[in-house]
């Protein structure tokens, strides 16, 4: 269970404070596919980063499986992300000097007996990238890059995938494919929270919420 209680995030700028999240309350059940809609600047990215233990809120509480994420130390939060969270970003954020397989293997902790390597290859095969393993990100299409990023997010077998505009740079065909893969993870029991502009993810959603001016629109 993921619980957000009175979550507030204020950015201090030279033009004055910006309330990116302004008292957000949200509960996400395990195995739920949640789609978060909202315009640019509505706080979608801030919400996901805060949820993932990457961005300390100005006020409020984030609990995952009953554990207060920001009560933990930085080291514990890093371990929490490594074990439980998979991030997918709009700009993919693949490491440019690593090939597809190496980028995927950046995630998760080493496991004995080559288990992780085998799982990475399997994931990449499932995502249709089995012929692209030695290729660098610059040699891939946008869709392939995002599928690589999904494989990287799924490698540590997280409980939760946070996807921030994962199809923002993709054509409709690739967009549908990305959501199909996220839906597959959801079908196997994973929790997915997707922040997106478009309606393409709605068909997979258990729940759709709309962020507006830092709060959830009723």
């Amino acid at each position: 269970m993921i619980q957000l209680e009175n979550l507030v995030k204020i950015y201090q700028t030279t033009q004055g404070p910006i309330h990116s999240l302004d008292g957000v309350n949200l509960a996400v059940k395990p195995g739920e596919f949640t789609v978060v809609h909202g315009r640019s600047g509505s706080g979608k990215t801030t919400l996901l980063l805060t949820l993932g233990g990457m961005l300390r809120p100005s006020a409020g509480r984030v609990t995952v499986d009953g554990q207060d994420v920001y009560a933990a130390s930085q080291r514990e939060r890093a371990q929490f992300r490594a074990r439980k969270i998979g991030f997918v970003f709009q700009m993919y954020h693949l490491v440019p000097y690593l090939n597809v397989l190496e980028n995927v293997l950046l995630a998760g902790k080493p496991e004995p007996g080559g288990v992780r390597l085998a799982r990475a290859r399997e994931l990449l095969t499932q995502l249709g990238l089995e012929t692209r393993l030695p290729h660098k990100p610059e040699e891939l299409s946008a869709g392939e890059r995002q599928r690589t990023a999904i494989a990287r997010a799924l490698l540590p077998q997280p409980k939760l995938v946070l996807a921030d505009e994962p199809t923002g740079n993709l054509d409709p065909e690739s967009e549908a494919e990305v959501f199909r893969h996220l839906a597959e993870f959801h079908r196997q029991g994973g929790t997915v929270i997707v922040a997106t502009h478009g309606p393409a993810a709605d068909e997979f959603a258990d729940r759709i919420i709309e962020l507006h001016a830092g709060g959830i629109k009723p």
Partner: protein, 383 residues
């Protein structure tokens, strides 16, 4: 994926940054190695020149009448030979005195004219320095003849010479020196003591001062204070012109090195730090992603510092090679006095391999901390 693999791949990917960092490290090592190689050569040459110049300290019996001493060129008083052992056995004496030789000098009638019969003991040097002793190495039963003595008596190497009914072999005839050495006959101290019937006695200890201070720094005050503690029955004189020449040469090179080295280190560290900081800035998103994937501060710091260490090792190897070549090829033109002594110093490679990575890591410390403390969320949001 190991940090080392990531570092290697990043270096290959961002070649320009790596090359510039390597160049900065290599420049520091190159100049440092060239500098120390030349300095070492200079030190060797200084030693050689000093040896050529000769002893610059004279320790004579305290009760010597100085008018007689300066008129005769040696003391008419004697002291026990054990004074040399007492002096060299004293703690820290070699910090001020080195190459100590006991001597006994007396005028002696030879072939109807006076010569200065001079007995010399083997030189005693600082135990740890392993320096080749200065002065003549005289074997028992042999003598070295000053130029004038050899000319007058028409003696040459291998000829016999009788001194006070004792027979000696001429080991060498010295070339003309233009000093009173030309009328000296040098023998082993114990032989001369026997000839002069002054067993166990000496009238001078010659030495080289190790303080390397110029006259205005008053080294004689220090030397006399030390001698007063150990040998109250003796006093010391310093041949100032010789001592000053040596001290000036050594101090000048040390001053150059003292000025250049910090300058070199500061500029090098600033450049290495700057390139590391630029690299960290370039990798902000990558660092943010690694954070998002659950990698901790240790991993992030390792990527920055590990790269610095790796480039430091590479810079040390290349810098040593180039620096040594530079010193050997260009050095003789710049430092003509030192030219003969310039040669590669292999032990500098060991130092470079330790110092350069440490130096690069220290210079990259602030950028590493910036990488560790940067807000990953902000980097990911900005992109």
């Amino acid at each position: 994926m190991s940090a080392l693999t990531l570092i290697f791949k990043e270096i290959v990917h961002r070649k320009l940054n790596a090359w510039l960092s390597l160049l900065a490290i290599m420049t520091v090592v190159t100049l440092g190695v060239a500098f120390f190689t030349t300095a070492e050569a200079s030190r060797r040459e200084t030693t050689r020149i000093t040896r050529d110049i000769g002893f610059n300290l004279r320790i004579i019996p305290q009760n010597t009448d100085l008018d007689t001493f300066w008129a005769a060129g040696f003391s008419d008083q004697t002291m026990g030979e054990d004074t040399l052992q007492r002096l060299t056995g004293h703690t820290n004496v070699f910090l001020s005195y080195n190459h100590l030789v006991a001597s006994l000098q007396q005028k002696f009638l030879l072939g109807g004219k006076e010569v200065i019969l001079t007995g010399l003991s083997p030189a005693i040097t600082a135990p740890a320095q392993r320096k080749q002793p200065m002065g003549y190495q005289i074997k028992s039963g042999t003598v070295l003849l000053g130029y004038q003595v050899a000319q007058r008596l028409r003696l040459k190497k291998g000829d016999p010479l009788e001194l006070n009914r004792e027979r000696f072999l001429v080991e060498r005839c010295l070339s003309e020196s233009g000093t009173d050495d030309d009328i000296r006959v040098f023998g082993l101290l114990s032989d001369v003591q026997r000839v002069l019937n002054l067993r166990g006695r000496i009238n001078e200890i010659k030495a080289i001062d190790c303080l390397c201070l110029t006259a205005d720094q008053n080294p004689l005050k220090i030397l006399r204070a030390e001698l007063a503690q150990v040998l109250p029955e003796a006093k010391v004189f310093q041949l100032r012109a010789l001592a000053d020449a040596r001290a000036r040469q050594r101090q000048m090179s040390e001053k150059y090195f003292a000025f250049l080295l910090p300058f070199l280190l500061i500029v090098g560290a600033a450049l290495v730090g700057l390139f590391a900081a630029l690299n960290v800035r370039q990798r902000r998103v990558e660092i943010g992603v690694l954070r998002a994937l659950g990698h901790g501060s240790a991993m992030i710091a390792t990527l920055v510092l590990g790269k610095a260490v790796l480039l430091g090792l590479l810079g040390a190897g290349l810098g040593y090679g180039i620096g040594s070549a530079l010193a050997c090829v260009v050095g003789p033109d710049i430092f003509p006095v030192t030219a003969q002594g310039i040669k590669a110093e292999p032990r500098l490679l060991g130092w470079a391999l330790v110092a350069a990575p440490a130096f690069a890591a220290m210079a990259s410390f602030i950028p590493a901390m910036l990488a560790v403390t940067q807000d990953p969320a902000r980097a990911l949001q900005e992109e």
